[in-house]
């Protein structure tokens, strides 16, 4: 497993400045068949050996297309899911396989905000009950009473404290997301995993929530793991960004480095595909776009070697045989690729040349085009 070398590297790093460390993290969902005796016939490799760390006070953005395992990673970190393998360390403590009892303490420090603000709020409970629930469950002392504590939280996220007794359906989408944030903040957590927190919201509301998350981070010294498919939002909010593809991190770097000089062909393709709100750049953008053919392969039977090779214009035999390790190509910029993007390839002409160079090497017959 390529992750073993990574584990060593993260282990040698001083653990002090990292709030969260994840190494070799795996989650395989078994696929079972059979009428009476369920036997395992395979597994969805949702997350397959992921290493990263999050420093206290920073925001790590995690991007990738649907099915890349970014949400599963978030759920593993918050321990809503039990990891199949690997290790998660929070503040130096191994939380990979915490018991239910010990999990309760973890819940104080690690919270989650979900995508759909409606389905994640119980429609039969008032906002006061929803936001106050963590305080009650964890028996947090509230000197001025729970109601007051909840109203403070509502005010903190920009909701009217008088709406304490209202039900979720009386709020708009953006306000519901604020309720979700208030609930997550109730226990004063250190780390908040935000899973697509703004994807379901209208553009004008999206910006309000993004700004709110920004302000809260500053005021409460929060650390975010921000999971989203929208590369623009992730660029705005993150300090560092990890790009995932089929259960693996393919590139992780400081935000500006990743967006300015992506090294992984997938990252380059992803960035070039983002529609830019500037009609003047339209033709240029289209010409310079790295068009990926086909779809993401199935995580049940991922391609051998590098998982991106079936859609990569640079793929060679080596890519099918060896899993590329996550190597540090520049300071803090780690990439899992045998043939990282070179400067010349940032233009379409350069890519064409690289494609030809790759094609001259006898094609590998396992690298059939994905449908």
């Amino acid at each position: 497993m390529a992750s073993s070398t990574q584990t060593e590297r993260t282990a040698t790093r001083p653990a002090t400045d990292n709030l969260l460390e994840v190494s070799g993290l795996e989650k395989h969902f078994p696929i079972t068949r059979g009428a009476f005796v369920r036997r395992k016939v395979g597994a969805v490799h949702a997350v397959d050996g992921v290493d990263f760390s999050i420093r206290a006070g920073e925001t790590l953005g995690v991007v990738g297309e649907s099915g890349c395992g970014k949400s599963t990673t978030g759920r593993l970190v918050t321990r809503l899911l039990e990891p199949t393998g690997g290790k998660i360390t929070f503040e130096g403590r191994d939380i990979t396989h915490l018991s239910t009892g010990a999990m309760r303490d973890l819940r104080r420090d690690v919270q989650m905000i979900f995508q759909d603000p409606y389905s994640s709020l119980n429609p039969r409970h008032t906002v006061g009950t929803i936001v106050g629930a963590p305080l009650r469950v964890q028996k947090i002392p509230t000197p001025q009473g729970i109601k007051r504590a909840v109203q403070d939280l509502l005010e903190l996220v920009g909701l009217n404290p008088e709406h304490y007794n209202r039900y979720p359906h009386e709020f708009s989408g953006g306000q519901r997301q604020r309720i979700g944030i208030a609930r997550a903040l109730a226990l004063r957590p250190k780390l908040i995993v935000c899973d697509e927190p703004v994807s379901a919201l209208d553009v004008s509301i999206q910006a309000q929530v993004v700004n709110l998350l920004d302000d809260l981070q500053r005021e409460l010294n929060l650390t975010y793991m921000f999971i989203a498919h929208d590369l623009s939002v992730v660029k705005h909010i993150s300090d560092r960004v990890a790009v995932m593809y089929l259960g693996k991190i393919v590139e992780i770097a400081d935000r500006d480095a990743l967006y300015a000089t992506p090294f992984h062909p997938y990252t380059l393709a992803l960035l070039s595909a983002v529609p830019v709100p500037d009609p003047a750049r339209r033709d240029r953008a289209q010409r310079e776009r790295v068009l990926l053919t086909g779809d993401v392969p199935s995580p049940i039977d991922p391609p051998s070697g590098c998982r991106f090779r079936t859609r990569c214009w640079k793929a060679q035999d080596k890519c099918a045989q060896e899993v590329p390790p996550l190597r540090e190509l520049a300071s803090g910029h780690r990439v899992a690729c045998h043939f990282p993007v070179e400067e010349a390839e940032r233009t379409p002409q350069g890519r064409m040349a690289a494609q030809q160079a790759a094609a001259e090497i006898p094609p590998d017959n396992t690298a059939e085009p994905a449908l």
């Binding site: 004008s204 992803l270 595909a273 529609p275 830019v276 709100p277 779809d295 993401v296």
Partner: protein
């Protein structure tokens, strides 16, 4: 194959010229005038679309931008005549190539639907029938408007699937929608919409449910097919990036009305409506240096049942009531006939100055 197409197309054109309303309307290909779509409900009258006008030539793309509840999707269904007469009160005029559709018979509009005007929907998984194969659904779309055998139509469906970039179309034609990936399903949906070479194609959030790399493929596909067929395209979306990719003209909708309408360049370079400024300020951009903060629009989109008085945007507008302008009482109108219409009470000179001095530098 092509010959059959052209023959049937000619036939259809001939029929429409003789059977339809005489050509008396405006000369542009699609002309929508004062379109109103109201839904009477128990809670009150929902004015989903209220006095919308725009026009579109063949080979051009109009982007309709708006948030949820702006009336953009209701508009597209209204043009296709897909609102139930028992539920919706539709008035105004929709001229398609010289033929008025709102007053036309339901049967006449049906015969145009899918034939001269067709539509791509947002979520291809729910928009295709789960129990019929992809091929059967395309064949059906073709045979409603063409009197050909199943075999001919099937071949046409296979050709069409191939043209939208589905590999091995002869094999995939018998697959069911759930066997396709999201991107492939949207391609199949496009194949179905284009199977009769429609002159007007309405795409309602065609890429919202798709991943960004697939979105890029689909946008390129729509653009290429438009060039090939020279159809008029209406692109409905909330994503300013997507309209910037495709649209020649842009119409910004808010609360069932058009608040700004003009060439794409103009709307992105010199927008004049405060709501358009808000949309641009709300968007983080991948192509620029990161701004310290986004500049959102305050408040939430209005409910269509209970629209604010005067300018529907006034409760969210930072310039409301500025210099005594009557935002709360008078509904601003979009200047007719100009190439840049703005429905705002702020005087044009002021608007331009506010944008260039206060807004543009912060974007």
């Amino acid at each position: 194959m092509k010959g059959v197409d052209m023959a049937t197309d000619l036939l259809a054109d001939g029929q429409s010229a003789s059977g339809g309303t005489a050509r008396s309307g405006p000369q542009t290909f699609l002309d929508v005038r004062d379109l109103r779509i109201h839904f009477p409900t128990d809670d009150g009258l929902v004015k989903a679309v209220d006095g919308l006008s725009f026009s579109l030539e063949r080979g051009r793309t109009l982007g309709i931008v708006g948030e949820s509840g702006s009336g953009k999707s209701v508009t597209s269904l209204g043009i296709l005549g897909l609102h139930r007469q028992s539920r919706a009160k539709v008035s105004g005029e929709v001229w398609l190539d010289g033929e008025e559709l709102i007053a036309a018979s339901a049967e006449r509009v049906r015969s145009l639907r899918g034939q001269r005007m067709s539509m791509i929907f947002q979520d291809p998984l729910t928009a295709m029938h789960p129990y019929f194969s992809v091929g059967a659904q395309i064949v059906e779309a073709y045979r409603v408007h063409h009197n050909v055998s199943k075999k001919v139509a099937r071949q046409h469906a296979i050709d069409m699937l191939g043209r939208v970039g589905i590999p091995q179309p002869a094999k995939r034609v018998d697959d069911y929608p759930h066997q396709f990936s999201g991107g492939m399903r949207q391609r199949a949906m496009i194949a179905m919409a284009l199977v009769n070479n429609p002159e007007l194609l309405i795409a309602d959030e065609p890429t919202t449910a798709l991943d960004v790399t697939v979105q890029a493929q689909i946008l390129d596909l729509i653009r290429d097919l438009q060039e090939e067929f020279q159809s008029a395209v209406i692109m409905i979306t909330h994503d300013l990036g997507v309209v910037a990719e495709l649209a020649d003209d842009i119409l910004v909708m808010y609360g069932g009305k058009s608040v700004e309408y003009g060439a794409a360049e103009t709307i992105f370079r010199r927008p004049e409506h405060p709501y358009a400024w808000g949309l641009l300020g709300s968007m983080p951009r991948v192509d620029r240096e990161v701004r310290e903060r986004l500049i959102p629009v305050k408040g939430t989109p209005p409910s269509l049942i209970n629209l604010p008085s005067g300018c529907a945007f006034h409760p969210r507008c930072p310039y409301e009531g500025r210099n005594g302008i009557p935002c709360r009482t008078q509904v601003p109108t979009l200047a007719e006939g100009s190439d840049h219409g703005v429905a705002c009470h702020i005087p044009p000179a002021d608007r331009q100055r506010i944008f260039s001095e206060d807004i543009a530098p912060a974007l």
